[in-house]
Every structure is written in C-alpha cells, then in structure tokens.
C-alpha cells in the first residue's frame, strides 16, 4: 500500500480551492450566503481531516496492514458522517434554509460513504476486487465536482449580493 502522489495532489488542490472559497465568503459575508458559508466550512474541515489522515493510514499500513485496511474505510465513512451531521446540526441550530449546495454536498458525502462500504465489501468480504477501478475514479471525481459546485456557489452568492445592493441603492 503506497500513497498515490497524483491523487493526493488532487485532493490537496481541491482543499486549497475550498479554503480560498471560504476566505472569499468570510471577506464578503452576507446573510443570504449563510448556508453556502456553513457548507463550505464543513467541506473544508472534512477534506482537511481526510488529507491529514490519509498519509497516517499509509504509515500504519507499513506495520499493521490488515488493521489499516479496515481502519481506512471506517475512518473515511466516519468523516463523511461527521460532515453530514455538522451540516444538519448547524442548519437546524441557526434556523437557516438548506441551500442547493448543502443538499448537493450531503448527497456527495452519502455517495462517498456508499462507495466506501461497497469497496469494503468487495475487497475484504467478497475478495473480488471488482470495485478497485470504480473506487479510484469515483472518489476523486466526486471530490472535484464538490469543489466546483462550491466554487460556483461562492461566485454566485457574491454576484447575488452585488445585485441586491444595487437594487437597494435604486
């Protein structure tokens, strides 16, 4: 088990883009973009956790290969669950309407978890390895799509707030 440098670079790049979106949202904060702000913040934290934990799991695999295999799927599914829970809880606590981007991110995390579980069954229970290619392609694909959606919503929220302020000024 070795860390794939290309995939790791891709997920790190996604994280950098997401952090830039979060900083942009903090700079141009408006009431309208509350849900987008929360969604971006949750995605940044979840993605940062994944980027930090991934090399640790590879280090663990050098000494305890079997444990690392099991821990891999459990930890990533757990991070997805934490992200969904945080999204749900923050929206509920602050009484914010759930935006389309929040729904998309929740669906993406659900998809992540389903793929993790399918891959777990495929690799460790059935030992067929059918899902290897699907897993290697789908996880980065969903990650990149999620980043693009966040980027699009960040830009759109700024444009909307500019339009709203123009309307107020007449």
């Amino acid at each position: 088990m070795n860390l794939n440098p290309e995939l790791y670079l891709l997920s790190s790049t996604c994280l950098v883009v997401q952090i830039a979106c979060l900083l942009f949202l903090i700079k141009f904060y408006s009431q309208q973009s509350n849900s987008i702000f929360i969604t971006t913040a949750v995605v940044v934290v979840a993605n940062a956790m994944m980027v930090v934990i991934e090399p640790m799991l590879f280090q663990l695999a050098e000494h305890y290969r079997e444990v690392a295999k099991h821990a891999w799927y459990i930890i990533f599914t757990l991070i997805d669950l934490i992200a969904i829970y945080a999204l749900f809880k923050f929206h509920k606590l602050l009484g914010i309407k759930v935006s389309l981007s929040a729904k998309f991110v929740t669906s993406a995390y659900m998809a992540f978890s389903c793929i993790q579980i399918l891959r777990f069954c495929d690799r460790l229970i059935l030992e067929t390895n059918f899902m290897q290619y699907v897993y290697q392609v789908s996880i980065p694909f969903i990650g990149v799509t999620m980043t693009l959606v966040i980027l699009y919503n960040t830009v759109m929220s700024k444009l909307k707030s500019v339009d709203a302020s123009k309307e107020v000024l007449g």
């Binding site: 099991h70 599914t77 829970y85 729904k103």
Partner: protein, 109 residues
C-alpha cells in the same frame, strides 16, 4: 475483526441516512409550517384583537380574567397548529417525528 468492521460500518451508514433524511426533510417541514400558519392566521388575528381590547378594560380583576381566557385560546391555537403540522408531515411520510408527536398529543396516528 471483519464482523466488528461490518457492524461499525452498518451503524455509520444508518446514521448517514438518518441525518441526510432530516436535512432534506427540513424544507418540507418549513413549507408545511407556512401553509398551516396561513390557514390559522384568521384565528391568530382574533387573538391579537382580543389582546388590544383587554387594554381597554378598566378593572384589574376583569383584565386578568380576560387575559387568562386569551392565554387559553392562544395555547389551544398553538396546539392545533402543532398537531396540524404533525398530521400533514405524517401524511406526506416525510417525518417520523410527526408520528410520535401526534401519538403523544392523543391524536389519530
């Protein structure tokens, strides 16, 4: 070890679906709440009118009695609102909480 992992993953996926469902349900709940609020707006308006009328009552004891009556009406209206929201949610099958709420309130589940 495999059984432990399967168990943990099963628990995690159940919670995934639960929180995701609640997140998607929240919009439906808001829509139902708005609808019921508009249905009950006339009765709520009557309560506000009664409250304004109370201000015109001169004697303290009469005032307190009137306020108590209004408070009773307001609680009834709020209860009616909550039950209606719960029943609507139950009809659409979007919230398991609604079901519990109606049962607790003694409604028809």
């Amino acid at each position: 070890m495999i059984f432990v992992s399967v168990f943990i993953l099963s628990v995690l996926i159940i919670f995934h679906f639960r929180f995701a469902k609640e997140l998607f349900d929240s919009e439906i709940t808001e829509h139902v709440q708005r609808k019921i609020k508009s249905d009950l707006s006339e009765e709520a308006f009557c309560i506000v009118e009664n409250l304004i009328d109370v201000d015109r009552i001169r004697y303290r004891s009469d005032k307190e009695l009137a306020l108590e009556q209004i408070q009773g009406k307001a609680s009834e209206l709020y209860e009616e609102y909550e039950i209606k929201v719960a029943e609507e949610l139950q009809k659409s099958g979007s919230s398991y909480k609604a079901f519990g709420y109606v049962v607790l309130k003694g409604g028809n589940p």
